[in-house]
């Protein structure tokens, strides 16, 4: 299980960010996998099968998060900005750990773009594998990847400059 924990963690934390929600979706991924073992026929290997479950559950969680934002009217939440900039200049960029900063930037992508970045760029699946996991055409994966990279480049701009000394 430890071998696949890394894979699921990379997928789920990449999609949802660190925290209780990601842990929860991670648990659900394995529970669902164990429950579906009887139906699993070994086609394509365990890793893609687990990844597909993790991505789908993460997308569900993101959908719930979106609905939650719409219906909440708590005074506690009123002061929180909806989206905060991932990197606020060079000074802030140096303050954050590299992984945290990248994850914060990925969290600001929309779920479709985020899932492509996580599968293609973090988990290392090919474009074809990514299209199969997400059940979308290869062209869609490429266009999402293209736009996601543009957004990430903007969000992480200062960090990617030549003169950056993080």
């Amino acid at each position: 299980m430890e071998r696949y924990e890394r894979l699921v963690a990379a997928t789920v934390i990449g999609m949802l960010g660190r925290g209780a929600e990601a842990e929860d979706v991670g648990q659900k991924t394995f529970i669902k996998f164990y429950q579906a073992l009887q139906q699993y026929r070994g086609e394509g290997g365990v890793a893609p099968y687990l990844t597909r479950i993790a991505v789908n559950l993460s997308l569900n969680a993101l959908d719930r998060r979106k609905r939650r934002r719409r219906r909440f009217a708590s005074r506690d939440a009123e002061d929180l900005p909806a989206i905060e900039p991932a990197v606020d200049g060079e000074r802030d960029a140096r303050r954050f750990d590299e992984k945290d900063m990248v994850h914060r930037a990925i969290q600001q992508l929309n779920p479709d773009h985020r899932s492509v970045v996580v599968l293609r760029m973090i988990n290392g699946y090919s474009t074809k594998e990514t299209s199969e996991l997400l059940d979308v055409p290869v062209g869609t994966v490429l266009s999402r990847l293209y736009r996601a990279q543009q957004n990430l480049r903007d969000l992480l701009g200062p960090y990617l400059e030549d003169d950056y000394e993080g």
Binding site: M1, E2, E5, R6, A9, A10, I13, G14, R18, A20, E21, A22, E23, D24, G26, Q27, F30, I31, Y34, Q35, R64, R65, R68, R71, F72, A73, S74, R75, D76, A77, E98, K99, V102, H103, I106, V117, R120, M121, I122, N123, G124, S126, T127, K128, L142, L145, Y146, Q149, Q150, L152, R153, L156, Y159, L160, E161, D162
Partner: protein, 460 residues
Amino acid sequence: MKDSEMELLLRSFDDDDLDASERRRLEDLLEQSAELRAEEIRLRRLRAVISGSAADAFEPDFADRVMTNVARASMASSRVPRTRKAHDHAADLRHAPDRHSVGRVVEMGERISGWMAGTASSRASGWMAVHRTVWMAGGAATVIVLLIAVGLFVRIQPKTMSVPYGEMQMVELRDGSLVELSGGSTLTYPGKWESGERRVRLDGEAYFDVIRQDVPFVVQTFNADVTVLGTQFNVRAWEDDPVPETAVTLAAGRVAVTPRRDDQKDDRANARRMAADRADGDRLEADRADADRADADVAERLADDRGSRAYDGVSRTDDRPAAAEAYEYDLGDDRQAAESMLSMSRFAPGAVVLEPGQTTSVIADSAAAPRSASIDRVLAWRSGGLAFVDQRLGSVFKTIERRFDVDVEPLDPAIRNRLLTYLNPFPESAEEVISDICHTLDLRYRRTANGYEILPDATQ
């Protein structure tokens, strides 16, 4: 740099996406454009950073918790949910008497057969036949009388309807009034109305649609009486809430909400103390003056009313001036509310009269002044929704427990006192609601065997 050039550059990173001519063109562009070369470096760095940023581990005990939950999930699939236990238990009870009664019927049948066979030889005797007939008729009459008596006894006995957690039930009372009960609620009502009033007792939350009659309808809770003639209203009265209160919200008609007082004398003293604590000196003087002025007015009205029933059956229980009562039970800041209290105080000491769209709550022995309420939110539970407006988390968690039949335990007592406003017309699970709350209030939660534990945010 043109968009087409940027697109070409981005595509070049993916799986040989470029054909030979595109690749040649990109090489030419990179040679010619320093800007594009800088962009390529940035993108390579971006991809390196992202691919190296995989968060590849959960918390240390993740695997143990997964295995525990997998085991629990597999056990749950072979276990009957708690919410169904009441049904199954009821089904067992329904079936159990059947088996017993079948057994008894067979046993009695055998006895009768035996008795009939044993007495067959004496049938020739006419006297014995007459004798037997008389005895049998007498026995039958006795049985019929006993059945009627038992039926009457059962009919007038108080009835109790308890709703299991996670369910809702509707009760139709003898007068045709309807009561919708939320999960965990208990309604006790008499088999036969006592003369002068229709009184029921509620522990929990219910929506009442009362048939109009001359006899008042009274909902008794642990600390209040809600008196009506015919109307629609919601009563929420959980004695086990962290701050027990009876909250009444009126949808249509008119109701009077009266705190229940076992020891009126002590309660008056408490009310005075509470009033003195709340009001500052100047306002107290102003209220006193108002009360004195109103006293004479209400005393005059009382003189007119005395001898007749006030508010259609809710009579005053003593002869104290109404204004004085209102003064004792409402020394709030809102003068309009105080006037409202004065105007209705002719009906019962400490009573609050609600108009449609208003709500009040009785805490301890003191009723708050009427205020506007969102009926939709208050009645959200009837359609399966959850709505909390500035409610303490302690009370919110209790509601979740009753709705979903789970345990919700905050590990830090301070969490119970945090306020929440939350609207969810279609909550799918306890976890969805708890997850919502935790995300909004920066709390964490974890599963337990029967529910959830709520923890403060790790950063606090």
